[in-house]
Symmetry: C2
């Protein structure tokens, strides 16, 4: 069993050990999964939800086996499993569990958020234990989850409560990587002193405040999601939330580059972890890694992780 | 098979038929479930996740059997199932499926929201079909789901796309019923003309715009969530989104009363559907319905639905 510790401390220790502030997004889509794996899964379970879920599992397992020693963490995107119903979610759980066996920290990208006892049910289901009679059980068992802040503190506090009990953590959406993230997040708010500030800054301030309740040694167990595609905003948010680890999506396939990332990190070289999904798990489908072919897709993923690691280390080294 | 029609038309037709603009929230917690049902489930499957999920199923089924003829729709809150992991989610699916057999419209309270292909995966998983080889399959199969707007149009449009294909609908969170909903939703935004308006109004305007793309006969398949606990805001939002059906949580246990609800409805007597969860499914635990006892809990739920129907009809009749 893993030692119960503040999860953010453990994440930092693994980042230092691997030298890679990198998280790989396990967001499988059938079109990424090589023909031979799909065929194998469909032959065993049929061309149906169970067969598709098995194909996802075979794909994930081979990738994990090829990259687990290079990185501190993975981030399975639950939507990609949920689309296959119960069968898909069973493979989500199997993936989480296998990653933990391999020593990886698992960030469940679930973007949940509700109020009161409902948010608590999500927190219990993904990070905690549910009480049944005299015993308690884990439904899913991620180490961190992503949380949507739109409902305010009522939605976030139940997660923090469970994080404290379980020594786990969350990343709250602040400024997301997508093109339309500004529609609401960038709106200018009227402040009491007559000035105006964008919504994402105010959400960032709440993250800093929530984080104070749930500190690790140097960083909080309450982190934030800020897209690589918005480096200027990242710079400001880094300052507003000095103790929050920033989970940075949008690297690679979404357009973010290593050089865009430097401002997400603190002077200690820590404070951010950069996600790449498609760019790693479907590397073999890109021109750069085409030589590997579909049979050696997981080796292509390993090569892509090594390249990403070098890109980020280079950008951080030259600042 | 249900005739493929615009889902909002079907919801309106069922509201007219039952005379009840009411949705019952199937948000089971173990503490609501009578001892004798828990015992039965645990004896069969053990005091574990499967046993707890079975207790939820037995509880839901008896309530549904006792109220399905009175109401147009139910709203299972997926968090309450997700906390029991895969076993719980299997009972969520079983509940959705059973409610549809009974002729009820099912609003999945999932509050999902992500970007691009990820939001599309949620939409496909809950409202649509996933393509596997030459066939397509449904993971879950709600008629409507609730959606979180924080990520902007990139997060909502994939749901609208699936709604159009499948003749289904969504309710977008605009102003939620919880005490801290104002933390971000009520923030005053600076408008170009120098005026200022709260965020929830701007989100409401987006709902109206998104809804134009996906109209039924008189209302849109894109609705909104506005809490009963905020009647003044409801009045304004009713005007901003004239074609959006409003799903109104917060009635009963959260403090909203029939009289607070009149402004959520249009002059045609339509335009809103009011949710009660705990107030119905755990009615037997309230003083008012204590006479039923735990054995007849589902009859207490039926009595509570009838009382709620009368309260709302009275409030609407006297305006």
């Amino acid at each position: 069993m893993r030692k119960e510790t503040r999860m953010i401390n453990e994440l930092i220790s693994k980042i230092k050990k691997t030298g890679a502030p990198i998280v790989v997004g396990l967001d499988p889509m059938l079109k990424y999964i090589p023909e031979h794996l799909q065929k194998k899964a469909f032959e065993q379970y049929g061309e149906n939800l169970k067969g598709a879920a098995e194909a996802v599992w075979l794909f994930n397992k081979e990738i994990i086996d090829n990259i687990y020693d290079l990185i501190p963490a993975v981030k399975p995107q639950i939507a990609m499993y949920e689309q296959f119903g119960i069968e898909g979610l069973a493979v989500f759980q199997r993936t989480v569990s296998y990653c933990k066996e391999k020593g990886l920290i698992v960030i469940g990208d679930v973007k949940r958020g509700d109020i009161g006892s409902t948010s608590e049910a999500y927190a219990i289901g993904h990070l905690g234990k549910v009480q049944i009679g005299s015993q308690s059980f884990r439904g899913f068992e991620e180490d961190f989850v992503t949380v949507n802040p739109y409902l305010g503190s009522d939605g976030v506090n139940p997660f923090i409560k469970v994080c404290k009990e379980e020594h786990k953590g969350i990343f709250v959406l602040v400024k997301t990587s997508n093109p339309s993230s500004g529609e609401f997040q960038d709106r200018m708010l009227q402040m009491e002193d007559g000035s105006s500030r964008p919504l994402y800054e105010i959400v960032g301030e709440h993250v800093a405040k929530w984080g104070e309740e749930c500190m690790g040694d140097s960083y909080s167990n309450v982190g934030a999601v800020v897209g690589a595609t918005y480096p200027e905003q990242g710079k400001i948010l880094r300052r507003i939330m000095p103790k929050a680890f920033i989970l940075v999506p949008g690297y690679g396939a979404q357009g973010g580059k290593g050089a865009d990332l430097v401002h997400f990190f603190n002077a200690d070289g820590l404070g951010a972890i950069v996600n790449s999904s498609r760019g790693i798990i479907a590397a073999y489908q890109q021109k750069e890694y085409a030589e590997y072919g579909a049979e050696r897709f997981a080796e292509a993923s390993r090569a892509a992780v090594l390249a990403m690691k070098e890109d980020i280390a280079g950008a951080l080294g030259s600042r």
